[in-house]
């Protein structure tokens, strides 16, 4: 009997140590970035695992850089505009794809899925030309427009899935009452779709906030940079003298909001990601 208890205790111990290792692996790098960001530059080159005397000079230095604040503002504007644009365009598309049966529906869905698999670099030169022709080079509009290439297929796909799951009795009733498709969508279905909109909007926001290649290529001056580019371009005297404390402070500042969002909306994010990938 006691042998079985011992075995059970050992299994528990094994489980918890595995979970411990997993958590350490997942969280340690971010924790270490926080530790580094709270060190004065004199203490930077001694490895330490704990926060001894928090020193906020790195944060003060980052927040005093006008260009960094500007980059945060740009990133916010770009991400929010992309989310609004993508959601607006995809809600109507998702209604058509998720609720109406018509010839060509499968083809449109395949096309949307195909675009989501594009390597970004494959459209780089063509998009560059479009952006220059529209006079948008080195503006936030260039990024807002180009980011729809990866947000729009995703939001259409996920919203179509959610839209298809709504009970169809509601729509039948609306049609009986003679409501037009637009009324059906905005008055009947949209109010039920709010949770899905929050989920997809959040995922699109994160994708836009993190994008790097287009932001690096379509903007030129510090005033138009977004956060990822600003961080990638922080440099010191040479590649061996990067201001690591400053860099880590900037990294923590732009990541903390995302981490908080993820912790709050974990359940929604999971449902959105899995709806985008597998649905059975």
């Amino acid at each position: 009997m006691s042998l079985r208890l011992l075995k059970k205790a050992l299994l528990r111990l094994g489980l918890w140590s595995l979970i411990g290792v997993l958590l350490l692996y997942a969280v340690f790098p971010f924790y270490y970035a926080i530790v580094t960001s709270l060190k004065p530059s004199s203490a930077l080159f001694e490895v330490s695992y704990w926060i001894d005397n928090p020193d906020f000079s790195n944060y003060a230095a980052v927040l005093n850089q006008a260009s960094f604040l500007r980059a945060i503002g740009n990133s916010l504007v770009v991400a929010l505009c992309v989310v609004t644009l993508a959601l607006f365009l995809s809600v109507t598309a998702a209604y058509a794809l998720g609720r109406v049966k018509f010839r060509g529906r499968g083809t449109v869905l395949m096309m949307v899925l195909g675009v989501s698999m594009f390597p970004q670099v494959a459209v780089l030169s063509g998009l560059f030309e479009v952006i220059r022709a529209l006079g948008l080079y080195n503006t936030s509009w260039a990024l807002i427009l180009s980011y729809t290439i990866f947000t729009l297929p995703f939001t259409v796909w996920v919203l179509t899935t959610f839209m298809g799951q709504l009970p169809h009795e509601l729509e039948e009733a609306a049609i009986m009452d003679g409501a037009s498709p637009w009324i059906t969508l905005t008055r009947v279905l949209l109010p039920l779709l709010w949770p899905a909109l929050v989920t997809t909007g959040l995922l699109a926001f994160i994708a836009a906030w993190n994008e790097f290649l287009f932001a690096l290529t379509f903007t030129l001056t510090d005033t138009q940079r977004t956060v990822p580019v600003a961080i990638a371009l922080i440099s010191g005297g040479s590649s061996h003298e990067l201001p690591w404390g400053l860099l880590m402070a900037a990294s923590v500042l732009v990541t903390v909001p995302l981490v908080i969002l993820v912790l709050i909306f974990q359940r929604r994010i999971v449902s959105g990601l899995t709806a985008g990938a597998l649905k059975g």
Binding site: I19, L22, A26, P29, Y32, F45, V47, L89, Y95, A96, G98, K101, F102, R105, V108, L109, L113, M117, Q120, V121, A122, V123, L124, S125, G126, L127, V130, S146, T148, I149, V156, G164, H168, E171, E172, I175, P181, W182, W209, N210, F212, L213, T217, P228, V229, I231, A232, W244, L258, V259, L261, V262, Q266, V270, L273, T274, A277, L278, K279, G280
Partner: protein, 320 residues
């Protein structure tokens, strides 16, 4: 269980043929689709076609319009004595090799680790929701930021990874993770795996939760060893989800750019196809040549994507 199984609700209302209501709905559907399709045409289809066209010209970044048609000479050209063009550029083939190496190793590790973590988190224990939320953190961190954090941790002189390995006695001298040609690809893989395992884990967890519980109870009653159950029941049932996750990750890895650009910039030992293409496009301003590289990358990705769509469609037919 593939991404292609978004069924339209199959009720009588939607299947009724050619009633005025139905006709109006179809017209409205196309109207509703138009803005989205126009937008995708502007940012995806048209630029892609232009990239194909540029790859046949000698356009430069300063004057994309004045490029003249040069046929396939960006790809391969014989001037009587020498071959030139991408297809004989050792740097390009090096980039192809690097990308394939990166894709195979990192996707392999991600799928195996993702599955293991999902199995662990499928066990019931107190605090499981919190653990599930915490392991999402690497996924939420921007790639640029995680590359910077890791390049600090992997720093050859002051990095904590070298410090840990030295103090445990794994190595006698600090390693130059991002500068050493043999190690830098591993550094890139470490960062990518760290960032994307949560995504694979999520997909695997979702698939695990859809497994029928009755065969597990039957197996337990019969006293079959858990490993055997895993091998003969769980794994075959998870296969479709595993394949979907792997293909998603493969498509992502083939176009890898951010991690490599930040971690090792243009070093030839880690240069991927995307980095190569962008270097020619933007830094060397050679739009023709860079577009040719982009086109080749697009073709590779398109073949794999088509394979995926074909498999997904066949699976759908089998299911219905």
């Amino acid at each position: 269980m593939s991404a292609l199984t978004t069924h339209a609700p199959c009720d009588e209302l939607l299947l009724t043929r050619e009633t005025p209501v139905q006709r109006r709905r179809v017209r409205a559907a196309w109207l509703f689709l138009t803005p989205m399709l126009l937008c995708l045409a502007l940012v995806a289809a048209w630029p892609l076609l232009r990239t194909f066209w540029f790859s046949l010209t000698d356009a430069t970044l300063g004057q994309t319009r004045e490029g003249s048609f040069v046929g396939l000479s960006n790809y391969l050209f014989h001037d009587g004595s020498n071959w030139s063009g991408i297809l004989v550029d050792p740097q390009w083939w090096n980039a192809v090799r690097n990308t394939l190496h990166f894709t195979v190793v990192s996707v392999g590790l991600e799928v195996v680790l993702g599955l293991l973590v999902a199995l662990l988190l499928n066990i019931k224990f107190t605090g499981r929701p919190l653990v599930r939320a915490l392991i999402l953190i690497p996924w939420a961190i921007p790639t640029i930021v995680s590359a910077k954090i890791w390049s600090w941790m992997l720093n050859d002189q002051f990095g904590i990874i070298n410090h840990m390995m030295l103090s445990v006695g794994l190595i006698d001298a600090p390693l130059a993770w991002t500068a050493d040609a043999d190690l830098s690809m591993w550094a890139v893989i470490i960062v990518d795996v760290w960032k994307t395992v949560p995504f694979v884990t999520l997909l695997m967890l979702a698939a695990l939760q859809m497994l029928p519980s009755d065969c597990y109870e039957a197996a337990r009653v019969d006293g079959i060893h858990p490993l055997k159950v895993f091998w003969h029941v769980t794994l075959p049932l998870l296969m479709p989800a595993l394949l979907v996750a792997a293909i998603f990750r493969i498509l992502d890895s083939l176009r890898v750019f951010d991690v490599i650009y930040v971690l090792t910039s243009n070093s030839s030992s880690t240069m991927s196809m995307s980095v190569y293409a962008r270097q020619h496009l933007v830094e060397f301003q050679d739009v023709g040549y860079g577009s040719a590289a982009s086109t080749l990358l697009f073709l590779v990705v398109a073949v794999i994507a088509m394979l995926y769509l074909y498999l997904g469609r066949r699976q759908m037919e089998v299911r219905s």
